[in-house]
Symmetry: C2
Subunit: 329 residues, 2 copies
């Protein structure tokens, strides 16, 4: 493999996907501290809030303030999730660089989650596209619009989602103006071979617009699935610090892929994430302070970095002195 | 990938590697029940005991009885681990089909674990080879001798192990008569790219004798590493039910790859393990009964099988009815 130091973007989504599944609401001050700590560790892309009614998700009521803080970092790409046109309007006004609008490929999940069919979500997506284009024409910096296809790898309500449905909805999202197609394993059912198949399937209809993957670690395959996605050319992944997260409408779903463990794997393989593992591990302290008693997950946090991990990252050639083992002379 | 239903052998090593790191001793009766349950679930290869002095590992004092029970199953391949010639003699007398003799590629780990250098272990390995050959010449069914190379992917005591050392010791083990070379991530430091590199490195000197991999899940990469090993042609893996295991001489090391999670991944990818997941999950009850309070790990045990998992296993072509999503018509 010759892609040493190839760039991989890790998007921290814990402030959105993680916190929305934690019953308690993290204070705005702690969210600011989390953003600061993640930025200090080198994270340059974060999904920091969603614009949903506060009565549905009180955890996200401070979206405007959180985004305003994130935007104080010039080189931080700030993303918000929006379920509808009204949310998109608020996100535009808040000044985010990227808007994710989820579209479930499972009708059952879509109805449970947003009370709309996938087709209705595609229609809503098109109106968001129009809103962004109008703002752009009026001089607002162009916001990137991401179709976050969810339940792509299975749905706890309807079971396996036919590949034809996934392809059709991906195609419809592109036609409706998605700049980026992201694939989400909302329910933690993705498996490695399937991940490769679906990436190729969606790439056929979405081409280079297929850009990012969002895995949950429900069945322990989050990193194995990431590995397959890397092999299929994906270079952008969502993850949550300490594995926070889940989907309230997908029973049994557990947290996102753990950011620290993901960065460790990428680092060990020679990819450049720009993220400092020690800093990332240290940033868990913000969560421990903000959410005492909340379980924080992560293998690396428990086991620590292997001895000489820095050396091991330098690659085969440089890390292997030609020392014949003296014991065998 | 066209290897649907290709066979992958999963060796249950929990009765040996798992139990040796559990402080309490499991009774012989419970070990028998475990073997029965694993066999009933379809496991056909088990490492059931080690022949070490009972004062060092009282958990293994009943090795003879446990092996005798395992051998009541005609088509179960029974393996014992032996640290030395005396252990090999006992294993031969017990009638196992396979003997694993560990050889650490890290001198520091080797000295801490068996108080011998790797070179001394190679010498000891050669005497085991001779013992088996003599027994075979005397009419005893030929026992397969496995060199279990340990700390191959890193050592908590000495750090990274130079690739040249790994290759030299693998070569020496082949020259000393190993039928099989197995690679062990004793300390849970293996990372995906490294796994691929080391498999190719060892295959250069060991050829087809390189057969099996033994991962721990210390840093969450056990299944990702397995995936890479599969891609590099390995079709035999060790695992422990409920992720029991670890190495008392490798601080920070945690359990083996979880058998249920491994079989789930393999199953999802279309490999034939011959193991029934529901039966395997049910067999955890033996551990819960035998070791109350002992933590049992596993993603699948917590999350359960995905809906329609059986259907998803049938492969892309058969599981994808050509249903265009009506919502988009």
């Amino acid at each position: 493999m010759s892609d040493t130091q190839e760039r991989v973007v890790v998007t921290e989504v814990g402030m959105r996907d993680g916190l929305q599944s934690v019953a308690r609401t993290m204070s705005t001050e702690f969210k600011r501290r989390w953003i600061d700590a993640a930025y200090a560790a080198g994270v340059r892309q974060m999904e920091v809030a969603s614009f949903v009614p506060a009565k549905l998700l009180p955890q996200m009521a401070d979206a405007d303030d959180v985004i305003a803080h994130a935007l104080t970092y010039d080189d931080l790409i700030v993303t918000a999730l929006v379920p509808n046109l009204k949310g998109a309007q608020r996100a535009l006004e808040a000044g985010v660089q990227r808007i994710v609008a989820p579209i479930s490929v499972s009708a059952a999940h879509s109805l449970a989650n947003v009370r709309k069919t996938p087709a209705e979500m595609i229609d809503a997506f098109a109106t968001i596209r129009e809103l962004i284009d109008n703002a752009s024409n009026a001089g607002v910096r162009r916001v990137e619009l991401i179709a976050g296809l969810s339940t792509v790898f299975g749905c706890t309500l309807q079971g396996a989602v036919p590949y034809a449905d996934i392809a059709a909805i991906a195609r419809a999202a592109v036609q409706a103006g998605a700049d980026v197609i992201a694939l989400g394993d909302t329910t933690g059912e993705a498996t490695p071979r399937q991940v490769g198949e679906i990436i190729e399937l969606v790439r056929e209809v979405a081409g280079d617009r297929l850009r990012s993957l969002h895995f949950h670690d429900t069945r322990g395959l989050g990193l194995a699935n990431t590995l397959i996605a890397l092999q299929h050319g994906i270079r952008e992944f969502d993850a949550s610090l300490a594995g926070l997260g889940g989907c309230p409408h997908a029973p049994g779903a557990t947290g996102n892929v753990n950011t620290e463990d993901l960065v460790f794997m990428l680092d060990s393989m020679g990819y450049d994430t720009g993220i400092d593992l020690a800093g990332l591990l240290a940033s868990r302290a913000v969560l421990a302070d903000a959410l005492p008693g909340e379980p924080l997950y992560g293998y690396l946090a428990r086991a620590g970095l292997p001895k000489q991990f820095g050396a091991a990252r330098q690659g085969f050639a440089s890390r292997q002195p030609s020392s014949e083992p003296q014991v065998l002379q």
